[in-house]
Symmetry: C2
Subunit: 420 residues, 2 copies
Amino acid sequence: MSTARFAPTPAGPVGEAHRTWLACCAEAGWAPRRPVERVPLDAAAGRTTAADVHALWSSPAQERAAMDGVAVRSADTVDASQDRPVRLPPGSWDVVDTGDPLPAGRDAVIMREHVRRVPDGTVEIVAPAPPGRHVRPIGEDVVAGERLLPAGHRVRPVDAAMVAAAGHRDLPVVRRPVVAVLPTGDEIRPVGSALEPGGLGPGGIVDTNSLMLAGMAQEAGCATRVLPVVPDDPALLATAVGAAADGADLVLVIAGSSAGRDDHTAGVLATLGKVAVHGVAMRPGHPVVLGVLEDTVPVPVVGVPGYPVSAAHVFDTFAAPMIAALTGGAPRPVDRVTAVLGTAVDSPGHVEESVLVRLEDRDGTLTAVPSGRGAGALSRLARADGVLRVPAGATGHPAGATVTVERLPGAPAADRVGTG
Amino acid sequence: MSTARFAPTPAGPVGEAHRTWLACCAEAGWAPRRPVERVPLDAAAGRTTAADVHALWSSPAQERAAMDGVAVRSADTVDASQDRPVRLPPGSWDVVDTGDPLPAGRDAVIMREHVRRVPDGTVEIVAPAPPGRHVRPIGEDVVAGERLLPAGHRVRPVDAAMVAAAGHRDLPVVRRPVVAVLPTGDEIRPVGSALEPGGLGPGGIVDTNSLMLAGMAQEAGCATRVLPVVPDDPALLATAVGAAADGADLVLVIAGSSAGRDDHTAGVLATLGKVAVHGVAMRPGHPVVLGVLEDTVPVPVVGVPGYPVSAAHVFDTFAAPMIAALTGGAPRPVDRVTAVLGTAVDSPGHVEESVLVRLEDRDGTLTAVPSGRGAGALSRLARADGVLRVPAGATGHPAGATVTVERLPGAPAADRVGTG
């Protein structure tokens, strides 16, 4: 049709698109900056370490009792037996509780159940206590200088506790990358529009994508800035994209990425920087645009298709790895489960296809039930438990095939499925 | 030993302890309050719905084009074929982009690749378009009135987007439960103490548990209040526990839960309310105290053992389900993987044992390697990938046995193990 303005480049595979995008960004002078800030340990959970973290001191820093009982000198106990108990005089033993530092001169602890305190101030023991018995040695937990966390590690509460035990009170973390989200389209209305006077109007579509993508970016550890909706006007879009990039580490421009008459993203991006990829051999998400803005600082940009399932998939496929590169961390790990396919999946073969599935327990067999393919159905995405990947070149799977399903974050675990 | 003040009750199994605790709380008049607040959708992720959420309107609310192309009246196309193309005059067709509302009088869309626009203003088509072809019907995504989310659902970004599409701009969620964390013990020092003048001092132990437990409670969706360390003095502890309970939905009193000479938690709790359980047949975490404070409002309390691995396990076993009850949500789902046991695990048989394991890829076989048992080693917990449960009554597993491992949140996924 003659109204197409931009001839899409031939759609290559996903991995190639990603490499092409990164190469294009690098050529424009882009590199992850990863500015560092120190945060107190009680604010460090969820952040990504900016450097290796080493133990400042050993933990425990002294020998400590590992049981409630009495601390003794092992040598004093060697002759003790049930038949010939040994009595230790006052001053040669100490009552200790679990965690207490071992008093000077003591090298073993006898559990309180195994000693008898005699009214004359002695204790009676009936078995030898070898050196180190029920004693936590220095450095049992961490040794001074030991690497506790690698750079690029997403900090959990237990990690914060471990580094606190090793003497730290704060951590160097990568500043949260800033993701700017720019919704575009004459028909796009802010969330809740229909509740305002004037309402959604005929043809209006609620801007659900900004909400979803900003939420996903926040879950990935980013700060987000959602900008006002820009109409389908190249000049306005160019201004808005430039403003969005200011101070941002990644810009997501929503919709305007297919070749319909109002799709200006690629064209505008070509004037403000470079288009690395326009179209990828994947479904959903085929019309994605990947490029870089060449402002004072180069900023990577993703033109995200407007269909919600496509938008989410493009985020996972391209934005999430870029965010990982920005923080130096790893993308969210993927949980895979094995299931039996409930109904056949036919794929066209020339694209990598991602099929949403529900996971159901059918007579004790974990069964993956494809939930259709329309890229528009947000409810289908919200109700999916996982994704079945059909690589390019494969034409699908018959019903009954054993398949690997990638669980979606927040979807019920495999052992809890089948209730809905 | 004569210094034990509280005879521990016989330690029952975990499930029984949980039921006894809940029954004790209920007897004291406690019930989850679940106060409701409305939050805008862009702040709803991670919160728990306080009620079922239904669609306010259908989405799409109008029929919409599912492809870029021309919208037509299906009846005008029935005679079209390659040999005898049909020409539709101006006014009988409209150019539409994906997502556009279907113009009045049109009921099908022909993809732009399949039409030819003729300079005289007509379009030529070569195949019939049945009614509804490439049209998204009203309610394809959600139907007005349909239940979108159940009460007790932890909201994800995609859920917020779905309810926005169905007309909402905010959601009723359960107010975050308030968890008060009260560290106790003469030897316990605030995080970072050693960096201050005076330092940690001999025998001092860093308060890593407050940091870890507060972080875990926050991850479970709670607001937290960490209180100053209370010395081992029953009167001071009683005052502090009472103050901690003020405005809290759950109080975690750390340490002071075994039967050592300075362990006052159970005694103090008995004076301020009721002790439901003191000691559970599990390892680690055996000396846990479960009870309820009978203040103006009854508040559940957990006396958490001071060893970090025990503290984390007690949180997961008792605090996490209580937090789920407070919000009406489900506890974090458990990811289970099947692995081969690398070395034998021997269990005493009379307790439910939780063994930390590393997951390693050994020649392509996912292998669970037990990482020892000391409850004090925070680094072992931080480095574990999962937990192997050995139920009471079982005496362990031989090396090479096939076992089920519960993955720890934030630990690398099964397909990424074996790199460290």
